[in-house]
Amino acid sequence: MAHANGNSIDTSQLLKGVLDLAVLAVLADHDSYGYEVLRQLRDSGLDGVGDASVYGTLRRLYQAGALKSYVVPSDEGPHRKYYGLNDRGRSALDQSTKTWGSFTRALDHLLNGRSTANAR
């Protein structure tokens, strides 16, 4: 795993802060189970995300009351524990989306200001 070395941004550190939001966003679309959530996150470009991180995050969000959960039996393969957003999860997602928006706007502003300064 990469570690922050002061020269470049450590993606895994960034992910840690926003994994809740990413998981909630995946589940906002449709209910899903752990392994599928992981695959969707990776498919959307977050390929540094760890299996254990996603599993642990799902369990924590569930414990915190942001997710509903139910088991879907399957004839072939293991039973799947599906997770989906409940009301609290949806409002957490809305709230976090706003926070994320203002955060990225602030950072974009900073970074753009710097690049125009450099261009001069």
Partner: protein, 198 residues
């Protein structure tokens, strides 16, 4: 990989993860790991390689789980599993590392001669309290009374003895130093009530 060996792989990986999370409170661990076996089976069924190759060491997996779950972050500080001796040593280390280097720590041994003088004074003070009239004891005895003069002379003599004893103790054996430490404690304890009366 055939099904039965895959099931074995899942079971052994899951139990290694469980073992690595043993320090967590039981309820917390079970709630975190409730679905672990099914989840691992899912992972295993999608690829031909072993879970260890796919997910890394179970200990690392457990550490990542724990950090994502945010569980028992204070376990290492408050857990009953840690022996008292370890915790005391850790506490001492923490306290001594707080002392500024080469400052206070270096200062403490230099304060020793001061204590040698003080303990001599305290011993004579205690003796004076016992053998003289303890009710009108003063921090510095009146040299114009015979008792007071005697007390001052005794203090000077005691300081001489105490300093000599102290200098010898600094280089002495452990047993001898232990005896002197005990004596210091006794002197301090005896002198406290006397000081309290002045």
């Amino acid at each position: 990989m055939p099904d039965s060996s895959q099931a074995n792989d899942v079971a052994s990986y899951a139990s290694a993860v469980r073992a690595a999370l043993a320090p967590l409170p039981d309820a917390e661990r079970e709630s975190l790991l409730e679905d672990l076996e099914n989840h691992l089976a899912e992972v295993a069924s999608e690829s031909g390689v072993s879970l260890q190759e796919r997910l890394g060491r179970p200990e690392d997996y457990a550490a990542e789980l724990r950090s994502a779950y945010g569980a028992g972050n204070d376990v290492s500080n408050t857990g009953p599993r840690r022996p008292l001796r370890d915790r005391t040593a850790a506490l001492l280390k923490a306290v001594s590392s707080k002392l500024p280097d080469g400052d206070l720590r270096a200062l403490l041994p230099e304060l020793r001669p001061g204590w040698w003088v003080v303990r001599a004074y305290l011993v004579v003070l205690f003796l004076a309290f016992v053998f003289r009239d303890g009710s009108n004891l003063r921090p510095i005895p009146n040299p114009f009374t015979s008792g007071g003069l005697l007390q001052i002379v005794a203090t000077v003599v005691a300081i001489g003895i105490s300093v000599r004893l102290g200098r010898r103790t600094t280089a002495a054996s452990r047993g001898w130093r232990g005896a002197v430490v005990a004596m210091n404690v006794v002197i301090a304890l005896l002198a406290l009530p006397v000081l309290g009366r002045m």
